[in-house]
């Protein structure tokens, strides 16, 4: 089974070397690809000088477009499993085996590394947790799937969803919407407890100012996605 780790990176000059070296030295049976989303810092130099396997986007696309490029690459190269992992070192690759196990055994289409199952490690702020809980309930309401950590960017998908995500992937704040999309394609989704660390350096993609706007936007996007999804298109 060919396994690919997709690492979206935007201005990650402080973290990307550590993340990539860890994967290369300690997890050599996984392939990886770093998607450099037109970073304005020295990320590209680091990728070039260290001879990493990377894709440079000529124009900044945002996290959704970046990750989707990774899925397109996985499809083109014929990978069986694709794992998304942030380029900032929040996601520990030591869980990789366990996260992809249900996919290997055919028990799940998508597995999400979740912070909130064992409530250990970096838990984010109270407000943000409340927001995630609200989104989690909203997704459960519209699509019937039960996922606690809906914004987690640590997820593994099988071949079926590499195909689907290569064709269609939400662009702005894609994690919650991609889950609703998966539910519409009747995915079997599991969560595996992981411990996330705080970012090593750099800045989070969502600033506190944007949080409220983010919540409204994502909620409406989820509801609209559900209302307008045409199941007939699948046939």
């Amino acid at each position: 089974m060919k396994k690919l780790i997709i690492i979206p990176a935007y201005n990650e000059e402080k973290n990307i070397k550590q993340v990539a070296d860890n994967l290369i030295h300690n997890y050599p049976h996984y392939d990886y690809v770093i998607i450099n989303d037109c970073s304005s810092d020295h990320t590209q130099n680091i990728l070039e000088n260290n001879n990493y396997n990377y894709i440079n986007l000529p124009v900044n696309l945002g996290i959704g477009g970046g990750v989707q490029t990774g899925y397109k690459y996985a499809l083109q190269q014929g990978y069986d499993i694709a794992i998304q992992m942030d380029g900032d070192g929040q996601h520990d690759p030591k869980y990789l085996e366990e996260v992809i196990k249900p996919i290997k055994e055919g028990k799940a289409d998508i597995v999400i590394g979740s912070r909130f199952i064992e409530k250990d490690g970096f838990q984010s702020t109270v407000l943000r947790r409340l927001g995630i809980k609200f989104l989690s309930n909203l997704i459960k309401l519209v699509s019937g799937i039960k996922v606690k950590d809906v914004t987690s960017g640590y997820r593994a998908v099988n071949r079926k969803f590499i195909n689907i995500y290569a064709k269609e992937y939400a662009q702005d704040y894609p994690e919650p919407e991609a889950l609703v999309n998966a539910a519409m394609h009747s995915a079997e989704i599991l969560e595996y407890p992981v411990i996330m660390s705080e970012r090593l350096g750099g800045e989070s993609s969502i600033s506190p100012f944007k949080s409220v706007y983010y919540m409204i936007k994502v909620s409406m996007a989820i509801i609209l996605y559900r209302i307008t999804f045409d199941k007939r298109r699948l046939k």
Binding site: V59, Q171, D172, K217, M220, A221, L224, I227, T228, D230
Partner: protein
Amino acid sequence: MNGILQTFLVLGILLYFFILLFLIKRRTLLLKYTLLWIFSGIIMLIVAVFPKIMISITHFLGVVEVTNGVFALILFFMLIILMSITSIVSNMKEKNKQLIQKCALFEKRIRELEEIIKN
């Protein structure tokens, strides 16, 4: 606002929502850019169903006729949407320019590579 105007306003807004959802379903509109349309639609619907809100606001602002207040509100939303479209287009223009420039740079590199292979 009399009953007839109110009924037609509500019907008009329902048609507006129907077309909006139809376009999203056909995937001709990106969700991101429709949120403003939906938000304005919801506000207009609230005003049409509960005209009392509008009556007190127009009274406070010194607008004599309530219907003028409703028109002003719709005009306001249209201006906001137009502004957002200008910002979206400007953004696209900039990214398009970057893309063309990078494309040209790549083309030059390929030409130089071809020269090397030929010789």
